[in-house]
Amino acid sequence: MYDSGKIITGLLVFVAIVSFPFVYSRGTNIVKPEPKIDTPVIQQMAVKQCVQPRAFMRAEHMQLLNDWRDSVVRDGNRVYVGFGGKQYNMSLQNTCMHCHSNKKEFCDSCHNFMSVKPYCWDCHIAPKENKS
């Protein structure tokens, strides 16, 4: 092989750069975010149930919100029949955030961890939170 020294050194440098983030973060204690649901409204609920089961909401809430938006804005249909046939007004500001009034501990904890920046709050007004 011609230039084997250069090629092998180059490969080693490449592998070192690519694996750097993994090596660097090894050993650091990564705390998984735990979105909190202990808001006053949720505390008072007899059955703590979102519009769909928890596993579904965790995986699909972004798709669900997209579909809610299209349904409300474009088709004018505002009622969502959720888990167990219960009806909800499809509204991020008035329905979701009514229960989940702790945006910082609920939405932001995961979104910041995953470094996703949804632009919901550019327009939608976040609930007022006690700055503690």
Binding site: Q63, V79, Q87, H124
Partner: protein, 265 residues
Amino acid sequence: MSMDRRQFLKITGVSTILGIGAVAGVNGLSRSPVEASQVEPSPDALKAKRWGFVIDMSKFRTDDDFTRVRHACHSIHNVPDIDNPKVEIKWIWKDTYEHTFPGQESKYMAEEMKDKPFMVLCNHCDNPPCVRVCPTKATFKRSDGIVMMDMHRCIGCRFCMAACPFGARSFNFGDPRPFIKEPNPEFPTRTKGVVEKCTFCYERLAKGLNPACVDASQGGIVFGDLEDPKSEVRRLISKHYTIRRKLELGTEPSVYYIIGGNENA
């Protein structure tokens, strides 16, 4: 490897079926979580075939009549109060006769009419030019005649502002939030870079409420179904002489003005 025609057709046939099956399988797995059967219109919603306004100018006498209506609309919808006319945002506002009905001013017309301010807003045209030019379908006409904005889709190209002959649209050149004194927490604001306008209070109609301007106008603004011959708006239009803005452009506005000086309605 040599292959005869028969073998070739067999292989292509089987691989086509496998391919289609795989696509169908993947699509089936990633189905939308919201089924069509899961959404319904709100039961209390007010419905019409074509919503329209009749504005009785005899009920707008003082400055307070205008500001009251304007404030009702703008405070509910988080419309920023920007003093600079170059970047101001307005959903409903007052304008002069010659700006409202250009070409209809006559040389010797009554001074009081010529100087009278008029309440103007989006006309929710039957043939809306703003909808035709929107490249993203961010603005669209609902089946009940309301010309709506989908802020999520607006890319801020401002074609609609150029197309609208009534100046009913405003552009957010900057973040509107610092200019909103008391935000209504039940309604979103807008963000930098989107166009906004009157939405016929679609969110209030869905709850069974009247548009905010109608409630605040003390009878000066009446709303109803223009396609229902028995509606209040149709009764007013048939009883009084009404004019609409810039009819010659063919946009068919849904806002009618009663401009007679007497007590109407």
